[in-house]
């Protein structure tokens, strides 16, 4: 067998046959998987079973009542399938990071015994998934190939390789300038707690001056534990906000941002100021100062961008929002990864299908990367909300789809935003369930 004499045509044909066979096999595999699933679904439906979908997540899932995405999802699914009955359970926990969600996950499973779990979580984590980079796909010209199974297969491999290569880099420089060292848990002396309670009482009774007096005195104590100090600070700031004492407010904000640029309470305060249009100069001055100190902080840059946008200066907001897009790094999403893996394994163990949803305007590949090391990665369902939202956003105003800017260039959804979200998820679910055949069977059985 001499390779040198072999015509090139034959080599090309060999490669074509190879790729074609691989594509056919992967498709057959998919058809087999789907038929198996549809067989299971048939069994369930014919037994008069209501297909239960449980949506887990944070405020983005929870908020909206009838207009929340789970409620809209239920409507869409039942409308589109006619005879079939879907029940969607909203298990959103507002403000919950992924860990909190996963801690209470198994009891929910027992309670509702769902057939499918839709998850959209990670926005409240220490390194939130919503802060992930909004990378543009460099290989966009390959888009027409995306429907090919071999493309998906090799895409999965590439993601795995990238993930692996990332693990070689020891401790990526995460954009956090000033994380406090983990303070050992200290028992706060009783007198401090009593003082704090006193201050809270005063504040709740509307006597902010007294509260301010007590709390400032309490803060003067040099022995105060730093976490306790932050707690007192956050109460104090509410007083300042009520009384519009901006200079003092800025001082405590500065102090807290200096400890930790992700400080949740302080960020919320600043957001509140921005959205209500208060203290424009002070806020922008504070954030500009802080950014001069910590130019690499994604949180601060994003906050300033969001604030400019809220104050109506979109021209000034753009460079900051652009900057964080470049700066945002996946950072250390280890905890979120753990939680997603845990979720996936529990679901696998209970033979429940999982649907993993990425937040609007965020790259679905970041989510995929969390689960890419799993064996059945290529059979998972991911829902991309980046493209559809981008398309929708172009002609309309931001606030048509989002109620706030909690995640800088993205926020909680309006009913219309939730509708887009629910529509995307419904598409993915119906595609997976191969709903036509189920509908036929359920209609004939009725």
């Amino acid at each position: 067998m001499s390779l040198d004499k072999r015509p090139i045509l034959q080599d090309i044909l060999s490669i074509l046959v190879f790729l074609l066979t691989l594509e056919i096999l992967l498709r057959l595999n998919g058809v087999f998987d789907l038929s198996y699933q549809s067989y299971l679904n048939h069994k369930r439906v014919s037994a008069g079973h209501v297909y239960t979908i449980m949506c887990i997540g944070d405020s983005n899932t929870y908020l909206g009542g009838e207009n929340s995405y789970p409620s809209q999802l239920e409507k869409i699914l039942n409308e589109r399938t006619g005879g079939l009955k879907f029940k969607v359970i909203n298990q959103g926990l507002p403000a919950a990071p992924s860990k909190v969600i996963m801690d209470s996950f198994e009891p929910w499973l027992g309670k509702y015994s769902p057939d499918m779990v839709v998850s959209m979580m990670g926005a409240n984590d220490r390194h939130p998934i919503v802060l992930s980079p909004n990378q543009k796909n460099f290989f966009k010209f390959l888009a027409p190939l995306r429907s090919l199974k071999i493309y998906k297969l090799f895409e999965g491999i590439v993601i795995k390789i990238k993930d692996h290569v990332r693990s070689w880099v020891p401790g990526q420089p995460a954009p956090k300038p000033n994380v406090p060292p983990p303070t050992p848990f200290k028992v706060v002396p009783k007198k401090y707690v009593q003082l704090l309670m006193l201050g809270l009482d005063a504040k709740n009774n509307g006597n902010c001056d007294a509260a301010e007096y007590i709390l400032t005195n309490l803060l003067g104590d040099p022995d105060l534990d730093i976490t306790f100090q932050q707690r007192v600070d956050s109460e104090l700031r509410q007083c300042y906000m009520q009384q519009k004492k901006y200079p003092e407010l800025m001082d405590t904000l500065r102090f807290n941002f200096n400890i930790w640029d992700y400080d949740v309470g302080s960020t919320d305060n600043v957001r509140e100021l921005c959205t209500t249009g208060q203290a424009k100069e002070e806020v922008i001055g504070l954030l500009t100062d802080l950014i001069a100190l910590y130019p690499k902080s994604v949180a601060l840059n994003g906050l300033l961008g969001a604030c400019y946008a809220e104050y109506g200066e979109s021209a000034l907001a753009a460079p900051y929002l652009q900057k964080i897009k470049q700066m945002r790094s996946l950072g250390d999403m280890a905890i979120l990864k753990q939680d997603y893996l845990k979720l996936h394994r529990i679901l696998k163990q209970h033979k429940i299908k999982g649907v993993y949803v990425q937040y609007p305007l965020r790259d679905v590949n970041d989510l995929k990367r969390l689960l890419s090391a799993e064996d059945d990665y290529d059979k998972m369902i991911f829902v991309d909300n980046e493209g559809p939202f981008q398309e929708a956003l172009k002609p309309d105003q931001y606030y048509t789809y989002f109620t706030d800017r909690n995640y800088d260039d993205m926020g909680h959804c309006t009913p219309l935003g939730n509708h887009i979200l629910a529509g995307n998820i419904a598409d993915a679910i119906l595609k997976y369930l191969r709903i036509n055949s189920i509908r036929d069977s359920s209609l004939s059985s009725e």
Binding site: L13, S14, I157, I161, H164, A373
Partner: protein, 479 residues
Amino acid sequence: MHFNSLEFFLFFTVVYITYLFLSLRWQNRMLIAASCLFYAAWNWKFLFLMAASISTDFWCSQQIDRTDDPKKRKTFLLISLFINLGILGFFKYYNFFIANIQGLLSCLHLASPTLDLTLKIILPLGISFYTFEAMSYIIDVYKRKIRPAQNYWDYFLFVIYFPHLIAGPIMRAKDFLPQIIAPRLVNANKYYNGAYLVFLGLFQKMFVADNMAKIVNPIFNDGTGHNGADFLISMYAFTFQIFGDFAGYSNMARGLGAMMGFEITINFNTPFFAVNVQDFWNRWHISLSHWIRDYLYLPLMGGFRRINGNARIYLALMVSMTLIGLWHGAAWNFVFFGIYYGVLLSFYLFIRICWANLIVPKSPWGIRFWFWLRVLFIFHLTVFGMMIFRCHSLSQIGDIIRALLKNFHPSAMNNENFTALIGFATPLMLLQWVEYRTNDIFFILKYHWALRSFLLAVLTYLLLGWGVMKAEEFIYFQF
């Protein structure tokens, strides 16, 4: 750095491209550097141990070759063997023997049971393999079967060449040294054959072995409490796992060598189609079984000259096989693994001598039936032997046998495991069957181009779609 890891892929790509542009002398130098790097990626300290052992052997071989004085020659041989076996014995067997002797002494009330003389020893990777290579070299030089290496670095490369460094095949100097000294031919054909072997090895490792491990580990690791049916399935699974794992590694080693123009000895030759135990050991871990045959069994046969009759064969077999068992590791289950095969081989030789040609079918169907009966019988003996190999204690062997005999409920069988066993073993066995019939591992490459592409696509689909995409450790790295 495992062969099935991304790191190794990058490492080999760099090494290979560099290799193609170098002259022979620089090729060898580069391979030595690359091999040292390969080993140092695991633990650079043991590189010095290996270098010390290599230097002693080289020096001793030179001394043996230089003189005709039998006494001197023997002294240098013994120095070398003593050092090699000393290192191996210390790192691999010291704790085992100390623990057992201590146990014995404390049983006899001669030592305090609390006294602990065992040490925390890390087993240097590949020590069993390179020690055996060095010993075969020095013995061959002593017997004047080969001339010693003239250049220290040639011998260095013979031992440290990275494809066979960590888990064999155990090379002989007679085969490998000439390939180091003379220029090696690299052509497209060798490259494709080598690449196919690597691919096949990856398939055996990642599709077969790592998937079988998922059946085996949960059941064997927690020991008792399983149904006999579960144990039976995982015993079969382990047999395929260890074959896929080790044959996969050997194929990858051979493939990597072939891509560079080296020819590395074959280590597995369709062992599941062996028709008797002797045949099995001529097909399973060939480089080790032939090493033991040449350097242990045959000398023992000479040594037991005074024993009359067949007893000397049985005795030599028992000693050799027990040592094969012990070679795998310092644990009683390996000793029993060796004894088990020693008994089987002796028994086989016994019936062959006594009842030779008693049952020989004549009709074509009779011949087929007889062949498959024997293959199935030997396969099940292998399954049982591999169970002993896998157990981590003697009591576990007992538990498993008890479960198989007394607690066997096929109805309680784990269907998923059974499906996985059949699903992952069938492609492997089909490949093995055609390889056995054609006696050619490259049979796929010789088909018509369309069929070849089709089959390669099927294998790729199985590997990428169903294989375990993690660099799982090879079983034989621990030996």
